[in-house]
Every structure is written in structure tokens, then in C-alpha cells.
Symmetry: C2
Subunit: 187 residues, 2 copies
DNA sequence: GTCTATACGACGATAGAC
DNA sequence: GTCTATCGTCGTATAGAC
């Protein structure tokens, strides 16, 4: 793989685990086995340009993976539960969750600039749209689909934080069991 | 107010907005109008000791406020919706949410030490217990109360992140509208 | 209890050799 | 395209005067 892609890949994982401020360039260089000269050749505007590239990479990865899962299951409920199951498996194997989440970056909101914030915002919206689209296909009204998609997004992101904090996969598992209830239409 | 309490109060707000790594001691000193000598007198072990004090302060504040709200409403549903309404009001007035959340600290998980992680974990558990207790009083089984409390905690924490990222109070408002659905017993 | 002065390492970033 | 060397700033922390 080319150096630029390697940097983006490694930096993305580190940013997801420790946040933007929490990762120094030195740490990124170390895991990549390169030096500053190389990094600044590929990202002349430094760390912030690298972050934007990582966010774009996350957007592609998350969108692709999620759409892939959603295309393999008939209903939004099954797809969402499969998605959570994947998160749980990853967490139990690696002790951390690197795909599907970027809360560590978003959480530093007060120190982030607008382009970064906008990228995060549009990524959340994109995820919600995938849920929403499937829910409409399931027969939900546009409004109900929107609300449910938002709740799913929020509870999964919150569930990931609970799992990481408690060092247990139980929160996400419990949330998965609650999905049918969340997605049951009002009678 | 005494200096130590002032430092804790100001530092807590800053940590909640920017995360632990995102806030420098200099910034804390500035908003407090003090100097290093004073800070290190009150917190001889430096920034980490201050963080632990802030977490304890958050635990007291969040527990007190939440229990206060929950004592003023008959059902968990009403209480939770009132709590979210308060978050929304705060957010619309100040453009940020400083109480009720500590996701910015939790998000840096990979760089935090165990005592900090344990403090965060026990705080989440405490919040869940307040919800859970009220739900049991509402007639929920212990298991259903536990699951619902966890979902409420996760979706509110996730909802706060969505609001901050999108610079809109709509996510929390939508989640509030979904609460009745979440708390409806299986038939 | 609060101040000033200072140590020293880590940070992001740049210049120039190869 | 990658390296080494170096800069200036900011980070946390300490020592000692008042």
C-alpha cells in the first residue's frame, strides 16, 4: 500500500481511540514507521489536513460497510441487529471499537473548527439516511422513519461509549434486544 | 467561594466541552484568574488529581439534579422528558451542554488510566439506577427496567452528541418524543 | 495560600540534504 | 518521496519568595 493510505489508515484508528488532541504526530509516525518529512509531504497543511482525510476515509468505510449489511437483510430490524452484533464481536475480540464510530473526535467539539464539525455532522446524517431509507422500505412513514433512524443512531453511539467505559459488551447487547421495541409502529 | 471549588467548577465545564487532553492548565488558570502556584497547592498531583476531583463533582451534580427532577414527576416517562427538556433549554440558551454529560472525557478512553475509567463507569451506572428505580416503581419488572434504563442513558448521551455536532436541538427533541414508545411495555 | 521564575519535555511545523 | 536537523511554542510540573 502507498504511504499516504497507510498514514490515513493508522491515524484514523488512533483518532477514533484517543481523539484528535489525544494523538500526537510522533505516535502516528511511529506506528507507520515513517518520519515527519514523509508525512508533511503528503499532508502539507499538517495534522488538521490529515484529520479531514481521516474523516473522509471514515465516511467511505462506514457508509460502505453499513450499506453492505443493510443490503443483506430484509428488514431494518434484522440489519441493525446484525450491525450491532458485528460491533459486539469486534469489541470482544479487540477490546476496542474502531469502525462505525467517531465520538472521540466529535466530543472535542469546542476545540474543533467548522470544516471538521461539518464533516462529522454530514456523516451522522448519512448514517441516519441509510436507516431511514430501509425503514421506509419496511413501510414506515417518512416522519416515523426519520425519528426512528435518529434514535437508532443515538443509542448505538451512546451504547458504544457505555461498552468502552464499562469494558463490557453488555450495553450494546441489551440495546440490540430493545431494537424490536424501538421499531414497533405505534398502534 | 473558595479557590479550590472555583477551580473544580471551571475545570469541570472546560473538560466537558473540550475533553481532558483538549484543556491545558494555562486555560484553566486564566478563567479562574489564578496562577500555577495556587493550583498546585490545592492539587499537588497536578492535572490528573484535578480530573478526579472534577469527576467526583460531576457525580454529585448529576446525581442530585437527576434525582431532584425524578422526585418531582410521577412517572419515569414524564421525568425523563422533563430532563431532556432542560437539556434542550440549556443548549438553546448557551450553545453547549455542560451538565449531565461527560462523553468528552470518556471518549479519550484509550489514553485514560483505570481510576478515571472506573469513576466514569460508576457514574453511568448511577444514572441508570435512578432511571431503573423509577421504572420499577412504575411497575416494570427488574429486567425490563434495567434494559430500558440503559437504552435511555445511551440514547440521551448519543442525542447530546448529535445536537452538539449538528448545532441543533432537534435530535434531543425527537428522542424525547420517542420516549413513550421506548417505555411502552411489551404486549 | 498565592505569587514569580524556571525547568524540561512534547507538541506541530519547517528547511534542506539525499 | 523520504530522511535528518532544528525551530518556536506550549505542555505539565517544581522551587522558592512573599
Amino acid at each position: 500500500m502507498d504511504t499516504k493510505s497507510l498514514i490515513i489508515e493508522q491515524a484514523t484508528a488512533l483518532f477514533q481511540q484517543k481523539g484528535y488532541k489525544g494523538v500526537g504526530l510522533t505516535e502516528i509516525l511511529k506506528v507507520c514507521g515513517i518520519t515527519k518529512g514523509s508525512l508533511y509531504h503528503h499532508f502539507p497543511n499538517g495534522k488538521e489536513e490529515l484529520l479531514m482525510a481521516c474523516l473522509q476515509s471514515m465516511e467511505e468505510a462506514i457508509t460502505t460497510d453499513t450499506e453492505d449489511i443493510f443490503s443483506r437483510y430484509q428488514t431494518a430490524q434484522e440489519a441493525t441487529q446484525a450491525l450491532i452484533e458485528k460491533l459486539v464481536t469486534d469489541f470482544e475480540r479487540e477490546g476496542t471499537i474502531t469502525g462505525y464510530t467517531f465520538s472521540s473526535i466529535v466530543s472535542e467539539i469546542a476545540s474543533l473548527n467548522d470544516p471538521v464539525l461539518y464533516a462529522c455532522s454530514s456523516l451522522y446524517t448519512k448514517i441516519e439516511e441509510i436507516y431511514s431509507k430501509k425503514l421506509v422500505a419496511d413501510g414506515f412513514s417518512a416522519e416515523a422513519a426519520h425519528s426512528s433512524a435518529l434514535l437508532l443512531t443515538a443509542s448505538i453511539e451512546g451504547g458504544i461509549m457505555l461498552c468502552l467505559t464499562k469494558k463490557s459488551s453488555e450495553p450494546l447487547k441489551t440495546i440490540s434486544q430493545m431494537i424490536p421495541k424501538i421499531l414497533k409502529e405505534f398502534s
